[in-house]
Symmetry: C2
Subunit: 198 residues, 2 copies
DNA sequence: CAATAATAAGTAAATATTTATTTACTTACA
DNA sequence: TGTAAGTAAATAAATATTTACTTATTATTG
């Protein structure tokens, strides 16, 4: 049996992400992807059932998998609140800085019903990844360090500014000067922490 | 000369927004829109140059126009910081609660390059709308009420949690109980304000 | 003041492309 | 040498946009 060419599998994923990030999800076509990856359209269908499967798989692996794993690096639920939040923010910043394409795909996940479905399907298992963050928040709410909001509300307060600042970071990458540095990011992180502490 | 049928113009806009919100931007086709609005595809082209023009116009009017106007209702740049922020948040909450479709389109603006372009094109004039918010932030930074971050950073800290909470609001509308009420929203607003105050 | 001409609004159906996916074949390796 | 991996080209459906025609109104004319 002829073995799979792993380079081609990799090319499909990398180039799909690239097209999505640079031209938008709406401009990713199977034929364009095949041409850019120097393969036949058929080859994509050997590895994925169809376009939806490709996109959902990409989303789950790059956004719900790799990102969440990167964010939780060296993080423990029983960390000091300020330390923990800073760790999460810096991990996220580092990951996205090097994975601009994954960031673009994540943004699509917030609007596209297709990817949204994938998110909800994965949400059950996601407790395993983000479990540490959930426990972290519960732990500090119980200890009285922070207010006892619903978990989804805590997440919004804690991470939405980071995502928005990340957007700004990429916007400013195409301008003369960058306003989002690790320093300003940590200052923003302090603002968020200060707001949440009781 | 036969006059324009304003109901048809209205139908195009309303139904386009509806399809985008319910099925996604990627599933809006000119033919589907025409059929749903009970008109000929040609009629859309009388009112808009092409699909891009339709989407960009929709985005500018519904997201960059109506929304920003609603947010700034009864807002003045020299308001007390906490009062001003609460006003902006409550205005935004009230608007989106009644304009779910506009919210969906706004979310697409963050990912789709097409709408992103529209945003940048409008950004120059946007100073006129959001000018009051910019002046508000400058005013309070100068007065020492808040830290002196870059305007885009202030905006991220101030509004991204609201947008995220709004997303949660719509998510929870399809579940048994709603976690985002005006009360919890104001509590979150207090968290943000507390974080930003020096 | 009625009849009507001028004209943009509107329609139904067609067109030329583009698209996801498949068919029929070839290739490389265990 | 059997077999899944891979290719080039085909296909059928969908899509944005156009063509060729019809309709409803207004402003003018007789």
């Amino acid at each position: 049996m002829r073995p799979k060419n792993l380079e081609k599998e990799e090319a499909i994923r990398t180039i799909a992400l690239q097209i999505i990030a640079e031209e938008g999800l709406e401009n990713l076509t199977m034929q364009k992807l095949a041409k850019a990856a120097n393969i036949s359209p058929r080859t994509i269908y050997i590895k994925y059932d169809n376009k939806e499967d490709l996109l959902v798989t990409l989303y789950i692996e790059e956004v719900l998998g790799a990102y969440e794993q990167a964010v939780l690096k060296d993080f423990r639920f029983d960390m000091n609140f300020a330390e923990g939040v800073k760790k999460l923010w810096l991990n996220g910043f580092a990951y996205f800085k090097n994975n601009r394409h994954a960031f673009a795909l994540m943004q699509y996940g917030k609007s596209s019903p297709l990817l949204n479905k994938a998110y909800q399907a994965k949400n059950i298992k996601q407790g395993d990844y983000f479990g540490a963050v959930i426990r972290f928040l519960e732990y500090h709410a119980a200890a009285g360090t922070i207010r006892n909001f619903h978990q989804d509300i805590q997440r919004a307060l804690l991470f939405s500014p980071l995502i928005d600042l990340m957007s700004e970071y990429f916007d400013y990458q195409e301008r003369p000067e960058q306003i989002i540095t690790e320093e300003t990011l940590l200052q923003c992180c302090d603002v968020v922490i200060k707001g949440m502490l009781k």
